[in-house]
């Protein structure tokens, strides 16, 4: 079957088998290997991508289900050659060691900050609670997200709108 979607702002169309999972579509059909493929059971969260601005585990979404939707992967965090504050924060605060969980962590962090620009530590921990860091670097991951919150990109709002075509910033937090 044919699927079409927007990935990091770019329209893509491919012929695939209906059983292809979004994570494999992104990695193998599109060659975007920044999205990692981990546990395969929607537990580890390294495969998280943003679908219409919301974090989803791409190992448990069919590529067919993403047809017509807007997908943002870790490659899409860079806007105009500038790192997203979340990426910068992971550098500044040593938010990664082996780096395996990092793409999922950063996208969940991006989605959190889009909705809640100044989360407290418990809100960050709650947001990433579906993701596992095997180096147990949670403390530094939380600090990295806090760094990003404290250093929003000057063009953050504009860049987000342009980068994803969708922004969830209007959604109400609990």
């Amino acid at each position: 079957m044919q699927v079409s979607m927007t990935v990091n702002g770019e329209a893509v169309t491919r012929d695939i088998e209906p059983r292809v999972l979004l994570v494999h579509f992104i990695r193998e059909n599109l060659g975007l290997t920044g999205t990692h493929w981990g546990c395969d059971t929607s537990n580890c969260g390294t495969c998280v991508v943003l679908m219409d601005g919301q974090p989803v585990k791409s190992c448990t979404v069919l590529a067919a289900m993403a047809d017509g939707h807007d997908i943002r992967t870790v490659e899409g965090l860079v806007v105009g050659g500038a790192l997203d504050p979340v990426q910068q924060g992971f550098m500044e605060e040593h938010g990664l060691q082996c780096g395996f969980c990092t793409p999922g962590m950063m996208l969940t962090a991006r989605a959190l900050l889009d909705r809640n620009p100044h989360p407290d530590d418990s809100e960050i921990r709650q947001a990433i609670s579906g993701q596992i860091c095997r180096c147990t670097g949670y403390a530094t991951i939380v600090r990295s997200v806090q760094w990003a919150a404290a250093h929003p990109a000057v063009t953050d709002t504009a860049a987000d709108g342009a980068g994803t075509g969708e922004s969830n910033s209007e959604e109400v937090t609990a």
Binding site: R19, T41, S42, P55, V56, V61, L62, M65, T108
Partner: protein, 292 residues
């Protein structure tokens, strides 16, 4: 690498179209919403549908609205929406209690209430929640619409009253004054299935006695709610001795099995302790004395 067996895929445009597709493609076709129950089953080849009918575009099934004394929740409502609804939290705090401990925030962005109920996993939290709230399921099929109480909805593990050519469309909860509800779960780690969980709902009469009560347990082999415990509660003033007695009965009535989540004695202990806690909390909430 876990990949489902081959299947064909079609996306439904509305409920009528979904029903037509389920009818056309026959017994080996299944509706898929969030996919967080069905896709894992398909990856493990425990489910091998030949057709998947994607109902994610059925916006008509994505709603939370009040109609008279009913709170109506569309089957396609995501866990996140249920968790974030202040109306749901105010009327049925048990739903928020449960949603906070269902999987994790990212999974909750996809999973739906309808999918959870139709999967009918014995360890599934919303089944217990709907049981104790005496919810009704609105099911549509080729013959039209029918309304099924939760007591008839569950037919056993992974089996429900929804036929292959039907679709669960809506869940209805009756809003009662002086009511309270609560849910508590013990899990091995955040986001896991319950070792044991308990849910309770009560309605108090004007003089403060318990007019109606419902007690349910998750993951311990119980069909529906615990009638004997409910009978003991009815007509009594809510107090600790009563909760202890009802919890003892509930713990004795369930059928836990020894597995990787714990031995039978431990699970029975949890059933007892958790039932006391949720009864206590449900009664406090019914008096309006709690945070809300």
């Amino acid at each position: 690498m876990q990949i489902p067996a081959p299947f064909d895929y079609e996306r439904a445009s509305d409920v009528a179209n979904a029903l037509a597709l389920l009818e056309r493609h026959g017994p080996e076709s299944r509706a898929i919403a969030g996919g967080h129950s069905l896709l894992p089953m398909m990856k493990l080849r425990l489910a091998r549908p030949e057709w998947l009918i994607d109902i994610n575009d059925l916006a008509e099934l994505d709603f939370i609205r009040r109609e008279g004394d009913q709170l109506c929740v569309g089957a396609l409502t995501r866990h996140t929406a249920l968790l974030e609804s202040t109306e749901v939290a105010g009327l049925f705090p048990i739903v928020r209690d449960a949603e906070l401990v269902i999987a994790d925030p990212v999974v909750r962005n996809r999973g739906t209430i309808g999918g959870s109920l139709c999967q009918a996993d014995p360890a599934e939290d919303l089944s217990t929640v709907c049981d104790v709230l005496r919810a009704k399921a609105v099911i549509r099929g080729p013959g039209g619409e029918r309304i099924v109480p939760m007591s008839d909805f569950h037919r056993g593990p992974y089996e429900t009253a929804v036929a292959q050519n039907e679709l669960l469309c809506e869940i209805r909860f009756t809003i009662r004054p002086r009511s309270g509800s609560a849910y508590e779960k013990v899990e091995r780690r955040v986001g896991d299935w319950a070792v044991v969980a308990a849910g309770a709902a009560v309605v108090l009469s004007a003089d403060g006695t318990i007019e109606e009560a419902a007690v349910g347990l998750t993951s311990v082999g119980l069909d529906g709610t615990v009638g004997e415990a409910e009978a003991v509660l009815r007509g009594q003033q809510p107090q600790e001795d009563l909760f202890v007695e009802a919890a003892r009965i509930a713990a004795a009535a369930c059928h836990p099995v020894d597995d990787q989540r714990g031995p039978v004695d431990y699970k029975r202990h949890l059933a007892d302790e958790l039932t006391r806690r949720v009864l206590r909390r449900a009664c406090v909430r019914a008096t309006g004395a709690e945070e809300g």
